[in-house]
Amino acid sequence: MTTHETAGHATTTGLDNRKVMMWAFIGSDCLFFASLVSTYLLYRGKSVVGPYPYEVFNIPYTSVSAFVLLMSSLTMVLALGAIQRGDHTRLRIWLLATSILGCIFLGGQYFEFTVFVEQGVTLQGNLFGSSFFTLTSFHGLHVTFGVVILMSFFVMSLRGRLSQEQSLNIELAGLYWHFVDIVWIVIFTVVYLIEAPNIVH
């Protein structure tokens, strides 16, 4: 199935076109997030009115979110291992688990946003609100998209349309999912943790 799009001749490097594309896309996506993180960091401390990040961030709460997303990477990699062994039952379990963890993360983000809005941080309120919500919801959109893909594969697998030979699909979805996870590793540190209570503002 790998060479359908190439009108039937093997690739120069022997690598699959779609996998090369996925890594190139991830490289490109790094620059999307770098631009957003740049905006956030350059505007850090530049808001002329509050609320300010250290007043609203709840580090323990976000740590749990970060942990959930980290664990979804584990379940994702287990799903890939399962399909590569041809273990379709475990594939479905781990795909479902990954999607659920992703949904928990998204739910957590939604709840966090509503709490922030109650505390007066809004998209329009100040620079912090504008840059924070844009960055985190851009990431949230990535997670949402990933959940849609994983659920699609889950349904495909249930209907018997995802064979062991098509494990590359799961591998690519996994690459995307892990990338979204590492972006959160970065955001968790440079957005949340550096607002730590012991740093003088």
Binding site: M1, E5, T6, S28, V49, N126, L162, Q166
Partner: protein, 632 residues
Amino acid sequence: MAANSGSLPRFLERPTSYTTGVWGWITTVDHKKIGIMYGFTAIFFFLLGGLEAVVIRSQLAFAGNEIVSPDIYNQLFTMHALTMIFLAIMPLAVTFFNLIVPLQIGARDVAFPRLNALSYWIYLSGGLLLNAGWILGGAADSGWFAYAPLTLDQYGSGGRGMDFYSLGLLVLGVSSVAGGLNFLVTIINMRAPGMTLMRMPVFTWMAFITSILLVTAMPVITIALIELALDRILGTQFFAPGAGGDPLLWQHLFWVFGHPEVYILILPAMGIVSEVLPTFSKKPLFGYPFIIFSGIFIGFMGWAVWSHHMFTVGMGPVANATFAITTMLIAVPTGVKIFNWIGTMWGGSIDFKTPMLFSIGFVFLFIIGGLSGVSHAAPPSDYQQQDTYYIVAHLHYVLFGGAIFGIFSGIYYWWPKFSGKLLNENLGVIHFALLFIGMNMSFGPMHWLGMDGMPRRIYTYGAEYGWEFWNTVSTIGSYIIALGTIVFIVNVFYTMRQERRTDLADPWDGRTLEWSIPSPVPEYNFKEIPIVNGLDSFWDTKYSTDEQGYMTPIPQGASDDNQEDEEVDIHMPGLSYFPFITGIGLSVSGFGFAIYSQFNVVGLTVAIVGILATFFGAYGWCFEPADPEDHH
């Protein structure tokens, strides 16, 4: 992605029968047909941008002229730049990527044919979206780099143009990234056996570097545009000075993208020239590896010079000095390339056909544009030139004298490959002469005007400044360019009515693989995937070099590889509706968001419809078998 699906509605199953007609074009995934659509669309936008330029020049022809209102004038110069950069030069370069790259690397198509079709449909609809402002409350009017906070209603004109700017460019960015990824993978992974990186034709190399730049630079402007769109539509504070928003952030993000973008515009033209010059000089390219490594170095350095567009904003001496040095460094690889091109022509038996004329014109005009560029790499001198007509002169020498001349060279060079007809040589020479004279007359005097202090983007000027004479000359020059372009259009129509010839497989005695197959190129490109033994390996099948370095033709046997009469059964990817649906859907959603602040409910509805169409298209795409014969 994969997997068969029996659940698609019948009318959306992969069509197999359309080969011609409107549906044939809408559902095509053939890189040649997509390239031709790119080409004609881009020429259309080129004419539109040219028309805008003629109106601008007419307005400036005399002091105190009032042909258009100041408001329309702002829209004209903004849209002229956007149209020429994003809708004409970039897509014309992509036209050649599509048409030539798969042929030069010996492939039957690009790596992702449907993605390729998607890029085109987004480009077409995004181009219309960007221009929709003309009829819906005004086109973009803050200049093509749209400095904050002029782009916000309370500081700018208050028209709706910047909504179409931000969303139009966002949509077009998707097309560029998709195209960049596609050609990146194609060039990495679809090369014929034996075609190592250092045996790739220079044009393919430049396409490769350009693709890398597209994939890495477009994300930065995408984020800047998202922030701008959010500011305008949802009221965020990114560029609002009152809330602490920093206009310099926009400038930096814009130029972080903007300078690689400059090389996205010029590198493909350099690639074309590097193909044309050796062919018409009957010599191999002088210093192939130097040209390649210079191209790589230029692409790389494109990331380290962006702030030279901002010397006058007050970044401080350290930053200014750093960016001045990196900028001046770029003159080195550029100079290397120019010497290589001259070295290629040196001692060659030069055949002054139209493609060659345009390529020589490119080298000549690009030297002038490059030198004026070096003159504002130095901050003190840039302080004088910033925002004057001197900059306008410089950028037109590199983008018109450079990119456009290179592209016309490519059009004349490769036209027979895809049509089996030669563009008329006499009309071609007239076209070149008019363009060359008109170009120098139009943009040459702008150097003087700029040094004399005439600012860019002014709507009119008083007679007492003494700028009128050179402005009149410049306007006459622009009319000559327009006349030359009309000659080109006449040539195209005249040529299209000619009989198709069968002897044009290799009309220029070419060196690269695309000349080894019949013209027009069969759908499957290569009957057998070629094996490549070296740089210019097609040339090597035609000529041998003796001890003194002279080329002697190898007698061609009775081999008639170029006959296309026998039937070959080569399996090609099937047609698809989904790229069209996905691409149009994306632009429709962009349109919805762009009119959202004017017509809330309608805008939101249109946006949702567009998003649903995009998802429907993308989903259908994923579940469509990549290959129609897989369908059970």
